[in-house]
Amino acid sequence: MTGLRQAAIIAANQLLRFVLDWHGVLILFLLPLAFNLVLGVSLRQAFSPEYRPERPYRVGVVIPAGQEAAPAVEQVLAAGEADGWVHIERYASGEAALTAVRQRRVEAALVLPARFPREPLRVIAEPGTVPASVVETLAREAAVAGSGAAGGAAPGQPVPMDIAIRPAPPPVGEQGPVGAGGSPPPVDAMAYYAAGMAVMMIYLATREGTKAYVTDRGTGVYLRVRAGGVSHAAYLLGTFLGSMAVGLIFMGVMALVTRGLFGVHWGHLGGWMLLTLGATLAATGVNALLLGFARSPEVQEGVSIALAQLLAFLGGSMMPLFIFPEILARISRFIPNRWMLDGYLQLMAGAGPAAVRDESLRLAAVGVGLVALGWAADRLLARAAGEG
C-alpha cells in the first residue's frame, strides 16, 4: 500500500511538473495543431470526392441470384465502379473469389451471403491494404443499403475485414454520433490529421514520465528518493503512471481543442475513452522500452522524437492510409499508430465502442508487454550497476 501511495505521489509530481513547464506544454500542443492545420488544408484534395486512385482497384464480387438485397448492393458497387474507385469482376462462389484474391487476380473481394442480413457481408482482402480499406467502405455502404432493402440490421456498423470475415451482428441500439442529415459526420482532412497528429504526439506526451525518471537518476533525486525508503518498483510504477496521466490529458486536450478549432467530431465518447486508454498504454510501453537503451535525457529525447516520427510515418499520421503504397500499407499493419488511427477514424465515421474493442485490446496488450520489458531492462541495468 505504501508503495502504491509513493507511486501515486511520484506520478502526481510528474504531472505537476509537466503542467508547470509551459514551454514544453506549448510545443507539445502547438506542434500537432500546426501540422493539423497545414496538412489538413494542403491535403484536403485527397479527401475530396474528386480524388481517385491512378487505376481502379480490382474487386471480385459474389452476389447470389435472387438475393433480396442484391439490387441494393449491386447499385452501391456500380456507383463505386462508375466513380473510378473499383473495377468489378464477378465470381460464382466465395471460394472462387478467395482463390482470385490469393492469386492476386483481384485485390479484394466482396461476398453477399445468401442469408444476408442474418449473415454479414464478407470482405476478402489482405488486412491493412488500401484496396481492403476501399472495399470496406463500399461494404459498409452496401450493408446499409442491402439490409435496408432486406428489412433488417442497423446501419453504420463497421464491417470487420479479414480473410473469411464473419462479423457479429451489430449490438442492438449501439449507434455512433450522427451528422445533421442522420449520417455520421464526414471524416475530412482536418479530422484525419487531428487523429493522425494526436497519435504521433502521444509518444512525446507519454515520454514525460520516463524522461523525468532518467533525469532524476542523473541529478541525485533518484538517490534521495530511494534512500528515503521508496523501492525501485514503486519508483518505476510512479514513472509509468505519470506517463499515462500526461498522455491521457494530452489526448483529452487535443480532442477538445481540435473540436473547437477545426470542428472535428471524435465520435462515441465511450469508444474514444477505450481506445485512448489503449493508445496511451501502448505509447507508454514504447517509452518504457526505451529506458533499456537510452539512459540519458539527451539520448532519450533524440531517440524518442525520431521513433515517434518513424512510427507516425509508417502508421499513416503523415500520409493518408488510403494513398499508401502497397508495401507501406502492409508494414503499417504492424504499427500501433495504424491501430490507433484506424480506431479513431472508425469512431469518427460513426462506429461505437464495439468497433474499436479489438484495436484497444491489441494496443493495451502491446503496452503492457512493452512496459514489462522496459521494467525488466531497467531492473537488469540497475542490478548491473550494483544497485540494491
Partner: protein, 347 residues
C-alpha cells in the same frame, strides 16, 4: 564561532521529533540502541564495479551529535560509500547498521532514520522550494500540519523561509545547495549523510551551510560529511577518516590524524604560466621532496619540518622561479594526505 553555537539555538529537530511521537517518544521505537551508541556503524565495507574496487575494507562509526568527516580526493570512494550506506548500492562485503538496524535485513527501517543530501542538486527547478519540500515530505509519509511544520522549520534552518514560494530555477547556486540540505532534514533524521554539500557556492552560502550543520550536530543528529575541502572538515569534525583509492588510509580524532604528518610542513607558492617551461617532476627530483602542482599552486611537502624550507627555497631560486606569495604552513589534513599518498587532496 563555536562559542556562539549552542544546542538550545536550534529550534527544531529533536523537539519536533518528540512532538510528533518520533524517535524520542514512547511507543514502538524505531531505534533499538541507546543514544550514546553509534547511530552509524560501518564494518569492512567492500564495493566493486566489475574488476574495479571502489571501496575496500572501510570501517567507521558515527555517534549522535557527532560530525564525522570523510575526506579524500575525487574518485576516492566517498560517494560510493555514502550510496551504500544510503541503501542505493548493494555492498559486496561488510555490513552497515543505522540506529541498530542492519541495512541487509532491515533496510526500510534503517532508511527511515536517514536523511540524504546528494552531491548533485536533487531538486526540481520548475517547482518552488515549498513544492519541492512537500513532494519529498509526502514520499516520507509527512503530510498535514506536521508536514507543513517540518517544511517551515527546515527552510528556516537553512535561511530560505522567505523564499519558500519562489521557483528553484531562480535560486542562486548557494540557495539551491541550502534547499538541497533542507530536504535532507525532512523527518528529522537521526543520521544525516552529506555528500560534498558546498561544491561550487559562494563564501556566504558556504558559511551559512557550515553553521547550519554545526547546529544540527549540536541538536543530536549524527552527521557523515564527505568533502575534499579540508578546511571545512577541520571546521566541522572532531573525528575524520581519509580515503584514497577506496580505502581508509588514516582515521581518528582530528589532532591525531594531523599528527600523522609528523613534523612535516607545507610550502605553497603560486605556479603559473611563467613557470610553464620548468617541469615540476624535475623540480621534485632535484629538491628531494614531494611536490604537487594543481590549481595554479605548487605545494611542496617538507617532511623534516620548516627547517627544510631554506634549501628548497634556495633550489627554487637557482631554477629562476619567482617566490612571490610564498607561504609556509603547519600540518593540516592536506599535509597529511600529501604525506601519506604523495598526492594533493584536490586531484
Amino acid at each position: 564561532m563555536t562559542a556562539r553555537l549552542h544546542p538550545n539555538d536550534v529550534a527544531g529537530p529533536d523537539e519536533t521529533a518528540r512532538r510528533r511521537g518520533g524517535p524520542e517518544s514512547e511507543g514502538p521505537p524505531l531505534r533499538p540502541g541507546p543514544d550514546h551508541q553509534p547511530v552509524l556503524v560501518v564494518r569492512n565495507l567492500d564495493k566493486r564495479f566489475g574488476e574495479k574496487v571502489a571501496v575496500h575494507g572501510v570501517s567507521f562509526t558515527v555517534k549522535p551529535g557527532e560530525t564525522f568527516g570523510l575526506l579524500g580526493p575525487n574518485g576516492a570512494g566517498k560517494s560510493t560509500t555514502l550510496a551504500v550506506i544510503a541503501g542505493l548500492l548493494r555492498p559486496d562485503g561488510g555490513e552497515v547498521e543505522v540506529g541498530g538496524f542492519s541495512l541487509a535485513t532491515r533496510r526500510r527501517d534503517a532508511q527511515r532514520l536517514m536523511g540524504v543530501v546528494p552531491q548533485d542538486l536533487a531538486l526540481y527547478p520548475e517547482l518552488t522550494a515549498a513544492q519541492n519540500m512537500a513532494h519529498f515530505a509526502a514520499l516520507r509519509g509527512l503530510r498535514g500540519p506536521e508536514g507543513r511544520r517540518q517544511i517551515a522549520e527546515a527552510l528556516r534552518l537553512v535561511g530560505l523561509a522567505e523564499h519558500a514560494g519562489q521557483r528553484v530555477e531562480r535560486f542562486s547556486g548557494g540557495m539551491k545547495r541550502r534547499l538541497n540540505i533542507a530536504i535532507g532534514l525532512l523527518g528529522w533524521p537521526r543520521l544525516l549523510l552529506l555528500d560534498e554539500p558546498t561544491v561550487g557556492i559562494d563564501p556566504q552560502s558556504r558559511r551559512h551551510i557550515l553553521e547550519a550543520i554545526r547546529k544540527l550536530a549540536a541538536s543530536g543528529i549524527a552527521v557523515l560529511y564527505t568533502s575534499h575541502y579540508m578546511e571545512e572538515v577541520e571546521f566541522l569534525c572532531r573525528r575524520v577518516a581519509i580515503m584514497d583509492h577506496g580505502r581508509i588510509i588514516a582515521q581518528g580524532p582530528l589532532d591525531e590524524v594531523r599528527a600523522l604528518a609528523g613534523d612535516a610542513a607545507l610550502l605553497r607558492l603560486p605556479w603559473d604560466q611563467v613557470h610553464g617551461d620548468v617541469d615540476p617532476e624535475t623540480v621534485a627530483r632535484r629538491l628531494g621532496v614531494p611536490v604537487e602542482v594543481t590549481g595554479g599552486e605548487a605545494r611542496f611537502l617538507l617532511p623534516q619540518g620548516p627547517e627544510q624550507a631554506a634549501p628548497v627555497v634556495g633550489e627554487l631560486v637557482r631554477l629562476g622561479i619567482p617566490l612571490r606569495g610564498m607561504r609556509l604552513e603547519t600540518p593540516d589534513l592536506e599535509t597529511v594526505f600529501l604525506a601519506l599518498t604523495g598526492r594533493a587532496l584536490r586531484d
